[in-house]
Symmetry: D2
Subunit: 194 residues, 4 copies
Amino acid sequence: MFDKSKIVHSNVVAEATKQALIRRGVTLEDIAEIVYELQIPYNEGLEMSHCLESVKGVLRKRELQHAILVGIELDELAEQGKLSQPLQQIVESDEGLFGVDETIALGSVFTYGSIAVTTFGHLDKNKTGIINELDTKKGRGVHTFLDDLVASVAASAAARIAHRSRDLEESGETFEDVLPGDTMPETKIKGAKI
Amino acid sequence: MFDKSKIVHSNVVAEATKQALIRRGVTLEDIAEIVYELQIPYNEGLEMSHCLESVKGVLRKRELQHAILVGIELDELAEQGKLSQPLQQIVESDEGLFGVDETIALGSVFTYGSIAVTTFGHLDKNKTGIINELDTKKGRGVHTFLDDLVASVAASAAARIAHRSRDLEESGETFEDVLPGDTMPETKIKGAKI
Amino acid sequence: MFDKSKIVHSNVVAEATKQALIRRGVTLEDIAEIVYELQIPYNEGLEMSHCLESVKGVLRKRELQHAILVGIELDELAEQGKLSQPLQQIVESDEGLFGVDETIALGSVFTYGSIAVTTFGHLDKNKTGIINELDTKKGRGVHTFLDDLVASVAASAAARIAHRSRDLEESGETFEDVLPGDTMPETKIKGAKI
Amino acid sequence: MFDKSKIVHSNVVAEATKQALIRRGVTLEDIAEIVYELQIPYNEGLEMSHCLESVKGVLRKRELQHAILVGIELDELAEQGKLSQPLQQIVESDEGLFGVDETIALGSVFTYGSIAVTTFGHLDKNKTGIINELDTKKGRGVHTFLDDLVASVAASAAARIAHRSRDLEESGETFEDVLPGDTMPETKIKGAKI
């Protein structure tokens, strides 16, 4: 039987995810900037703070946290030359037909609907902001998984804003009427999980 | 440009979805029963009312509402013989390699993570409860899309309970400690969208 | 039991798909042009004829044929005002959060791996060639589903060439060494199905 | 720029995949047995040798080979206690809400269409044959990723047979008319890639 005492608490996973991103040089602000750039054309009154909150909200999802932990682990192991061959060489060279990096990232993108999937594809091809800097092929460390994971978080947070924007529209509001801290009210209450 | 005055209000879509299910003979209770059967082995204190609330929560998602509207429309058009050939015959006979029925249903299943996808696959093969009764091959109308959509709603609602159950566990609670109306607290507040 | 006499023959489905695309103003050459534009930067010696053959190969897939038949049917029904409300209005206005159009298209994109998924996302956002001309918002008929389906075919055909290109590389060849008619040798023999 | 000299040859990846499965105690025959059990009710004349050939065909796919290499690497690292915390504990205990194991497996399942996805879900829940023996919770090593990957290969190979079966039907044949070595004729010719 499954031993419940062995379950890692959500808070531990959330904190580890946060630390892993920082360790790999990615701040939540970096991701929020991509979200802002994606959504500002469609959303009057949108501010960086709304985007940042959306990124934080998205990062509360278990599946995304797990995906980030796995991806960064593989990047770091590859950097240290600790994967077995031929996987070591495949990850190290970030080759285009590998596919597992996109697959892991897509897993969490799906949870924000098809609009998130197309945005992910767009970011993956056009590599904006921090995603571009992480490009493994540039030679500063291995980020074969991380660049896709960052694109995944950004695409999900942008999709979230697109949906929220419609909700506002329907009540005759825009993001100008929303305090940054109120973008995702559902995350503020005990027992809520998105 | 996109004409915003033409946007259909969320409430209209939600209500149309509800009416379409009723018209096709599927009650939320029918779906909740499948959810209960799936989750009771793992969740002490789980009641039908928790499952029913989870089904209602899942049905608030835009993508799922749209999928249901499209699927039921195609079923009804096929019943009335109004699709063009050869699509009419393919839908009418609910053939196994069609695939579009599962694809549409999967779109919304994805939004509840990989546990929802595997549960959907299980339901699709083992057809429990109302899903079995809807089987087009039994000859009582065309439900080629609807049986998959019902499996999709049930799988999503079950996945939601699995996640919620973990949250409860972490705070030392079980479903016994949760009032049925409190299963999805995040849906109770203004501006929240899951 | 499933009545085998009712099964529509593959050839009928394939022919209907071809006719539906022509009826809606999309030629295989239009799609091949998008593929060419996507792949020429990476493939020395690639010609339009290779791309055209790849498009034809992709269109032999059952799931993609079914997706195209369903999508075009819904576009045409919407054009004729024959869908029930509110679906009629949603499809007619091609609204961004609908999602079912991308979902149906994604179903077949998946069959060509994650590289096809990201390419699809890219095409969906950047709308090149015929995809742009099909934009429902331009007012020449309803193509809410068709633009995504064309992006799906193009993304799949491009992914196919990317994989084939690697195979050539490994045997020390480029597309210059491949007769257009030999791009997909596996489709040339009896009983083969990709 | 991407250094082509660093690309790992397909044959090396294919061989490494084969060796990894053997090292972890999974034979192609084990997987073929699951396929046989899934498909025999629908296919007159189907033999184990047809199933084995379908498994081999599926394993020729790059994305699936990569997925298997990544998954087994993570299983083995976890067994050796070499993953960092909390990932080590999550993988070691194979917890139900992890999700990355199913996500990686699903990536390749998708390439065989929606029928493969539902079959995968069915196998994941009902754990037949070798999948059951691999269950990490039984305490004989860590197979958190491998059980899902085996389900993925089996589901894909079964979907392949379902499609092939339809092709046979349309030419008035059954599997009785097919030599085991002719199940996937498209894999027999130079330059073919499925």
